[in-house]
């Protein structure tokens, strides 16, 4: 995983609540066996008109937000399906950080696995950042994960909370499977203990 340390970039305002993962990327684009190349389908139903052309009203189609790397959005972002294609699509488009008043659990988890930093801030703070983002090109927002600080275009600073373990993984781009395999001995002991204590536990021995 690519580490996330700092990011200074343009932010796009997406002033919607309850953006579900079907909206982030519809099911018909999940038929891929790869992680890459999904950015073109990000927010498909918002971004494109029925004839396939770009919807000029959608924020990411506006010249000043085409290179946005931060998304400021509404509450319960990423609700619905567990599809990791949602963070893959965001990442492929170039979004490395999403700021919202709240996130759905599975999406939130999936972001951390892919080097995307989801930042939860109170709704009124998100509204201020949304107003900053509305300024366009000249309004760059800075994120410093180590310091847990968002810096607004006018220099004002907003601290944020992040789980210490996830922070460490993001900062160092750690392979979580590798970390867990350091506990392989404990996993083995757990399995042996349960096999002895709960011998009735069935296994799947073929179909």
């Amino acid at each position: 995983m690519t580490p996330f340390t700092t990011l200074t970039a343009m932010a796009a305002p997406l002033n919607l609540n309850n953006v579900d993962t079907d909206k982030i990327i519809p099911a018909r684009f999940l038929k891929t066996i790869r992680r890459s190349g999904l950015g073109v389908h990000l927010f498909d139903s918002l971004r494109y008109l029925a004839d396939g052309s770009e919807n000029p009203d959608f924020v990411l189609n506006q010249a000043k937000y085409r290179k946005a790397e931060i998304l400021i959005t509404g509450e319960n972002f990423g609700c619905g399906s567990s599809r990791e294609h949602a963070p893959w699509a965001l990442l492929d488009f170039g979004i490395g950080c999403v700021i919202a008043p709240s996130f759905a659990d599975i999406f939130h988890e999936n972001c951390f696995k892919n080097g995307i930093l989801p930042i939860t801030l109170p709704a009124e703070v998100c509204a201020e950042l949304m107003a900053d983002a509305a300024l366009g090109q000249n309004a760059r927002i800075s994120i410093d994960l180590a310091a847990q600080m968002v810096t607004r275009p006018d220099g004002r600073r907003i601290p944020f909370e992040v789980d210490a373990f996830r922070k460490k993984c993001l900062l160092n781009g750690l392979d979580e499977i590798g970390l867990t395999l350091e506990h392989a001995g404990a996993i083995e002991i757990f399995e042996q203990r349960r096999a002895a204590a709960e011998s009735w536990q069935p296994t799947i021995d073929g179909v």
Binding site: R28, R83, E84, I187, W200
Partner: protein, 467 residues
């Protein structure tokens, strides 16, 4: 200390607890399907890793599979490739796999309980948010992303912190014509799509205890629609009777030992819940969604809400957008709204009990000429049972299309999808914009309500047809 059902299952699966509270949590069952597993297997391959426990893992293709022409090659190339990729991966890594042509094939969340793979006290995961379904067995079951699928394949564990406990207590008795689907839709309407975020919901109370396993599975299935990654119902005699004799369940003496353990699982008296919500089942009437998320739900007797009455401007704009998308007018009656398609199926409502409920309404009636109605059984075994019982014949005689098992029009990854502007009465779980096909409009409801809509051609109150 008094513990909840969730606490007990969690504690029994902690391999190691780290200083910051993150746990290495052991996973008993890992269910795989074709959409969210290819990149996980690819990750294993790149790192030179194996599947740690193939005897705790099982795979089936469900999302992409066509519901007609079973056994023929899948026409759509990308769907065909995704299924072929699953088949190649399970063969290469030695994972048990139920082939598409096997009578046991079906929606992963239908066949887990049906095969006795999902048992009380287990931790169960799948790269699919509706894994919450299996919580009805008294298991801790939740959806995970593909990175976590890879993590479980490689380590048989996840790194997690415990969720908070929430109890949803449904007291009283359901009125005739009202079902488990109406209970869960009413709950989602009450607590909202983010009401359960960060929580595991335990459903309790007289109305939940009275549900059969099919109904309990329907309730837990939609926990994620209330934001909760997992829903749980304490195992009881109904659970044990359901499990007994199923192929992958413990048999004989082992079953008795298992039941003895399962009886220790229900939440202790006085266990702490971070949040408690109470509903009266007697007040629940048949529910229908009117908007584009599952909390936008109301009784079939209701009127479409007026955005002008919403004080918050962002919410007002979203309400107005929902009505525009759904082509509904503020203040109109929901009942009487003309529909084009009926879909009876999905991991929410495609068990034999659901098909019987639909058939009971459809019997002796005809699907309205303007309506296309599909029934997609949850598994090949459900299909066979419905055919043996005569349920299939009733539905077919009434004009329903009778299909093979799969996820189908719940999310339109196979050829079954809505076209632009079509309005569907659907027994599935999500009414998001475009969920059943681009531009399609979804009204979520129970199987009985869906059958009533099919024969009347409009959204209507099933109690008017069966009383």
């Amino acid at each position: 200390m008094a513990r909840t059902l969730f606490d007990k299952i969690w504690d029994a699966h902690v391999v190691e607890r780290m200083g910051d509270g993150t746990c290495v949590l052991y996973i008993d069952r890992h269910l795989l399907h074709e959409v969210t597993s290819p990149q996980a297997f690819e990750g294993l391959r790149l790192a030179g890793r194996k599947v740690r426990r193939v005897d705790a893992t099982i795979a089936v293709a469900d999302h992409n599979v066509p519901t007609q022409g079973r056994g023929l090659p899948i026409a759509e190339p990308e769907s065909r490739l995704q299924v072929a990729t699953l088949e190649a991966n399970v063969a290469a890594f030695g994972v048990p796999y139920i082939p598409i042509t096997d009578p046991r094939q079906g929606i992963v969340h239908i066949i887990g309980p049906e095969q006795g793979l999902s048992l009380p006290g287990m931790t169960i995961v799948c790269g699919d948010s509706h894994t919450s379904t299996h919580g009805a067995m008294g298991a801790l079951a939740f959806g995970i992303g593909t990175s976590e699928v890879e993590h479980v394949l490689a380590t048989q564990t996840l790194l997690q912190k415990p969720a908070k406990n929430m109890r949803v207590q449904v007291d009283g008795t359901l009125a005739p014509g009202c079902t488990a689907k109406d209970i869960i839709l009413a709950i989602v309407g009450r607590i909202g799509t983010a009401g359960g975020t960060g929580h595991v919901i335990e459903y309790a109370g007289e109305a939940i205890r009275a549900l059969d396993m099919a109904g309990r599975l329907t309730v837990c299935n939609m926990s994620i629609e209330a934001g909760a990654r997992a829903g749980l119902i304490a195992p009881d005699q109904t659970t044990y009777d359901y499990i007994k004799g199923r192929p992958y369940a413990p048999q004989g003496e082992a079953f008795e030992q298992a039941v003895a353990y399962w009886r220790t699982l229900p939440s202790d008296a006085g266990a702490h819940f971070d949040r408690v919500v109470t509903l009266d089942a007697a007040e629940i009437v048949p529910q229908v969604t009117w908007g584009t998320n599952p909390e936008a739900v109301m009784p079939i007797t209701g009127l479409v809400p007026d955005p002008a009455a919403e004080p918050d401007s962002a919410r007002r704009a979203q309400l107005a957008q929902m009505l525009t998308y759904m082509d509904l007018k503020a203040g109109q009656k929901l009942a009487g709204t003309k529909i084009d398609v009926v879909f009876i199926g999905s991991c929410t409502n495609a068990r034999i009990e659901d098909l019987r409920a639909a058939a009971a309404v459809a019997k002796g009636r005809q699907v309205a000429p303007s309506v296309r109605a599909l029934v997609v059984p949850g598994s090949g075994l459900v299909k066979a049972q419905a055919e043996a019982e005569g349920v299939a014949k009733i539905l077919q005689d009434a004009g329903f299309e009778w299909r093979d098992a799969g996820c189908s029009m719940c999310l339109g990854m196979n050829p079954d999808k809505l076209t632009q502007g079509q309005r569907c009465a659907s027994t599935s779980n999500r009414n998001f914009e475009g969920r059943q096909g681009p531009g399609g409009r979804t009204h979520l409801l129970s199987p009985a309500m869906a059958a009533a809509a099919a024969v009347r051609g409009v959204l209507c109150d099933v109690r008017d047809l069966v009383s």
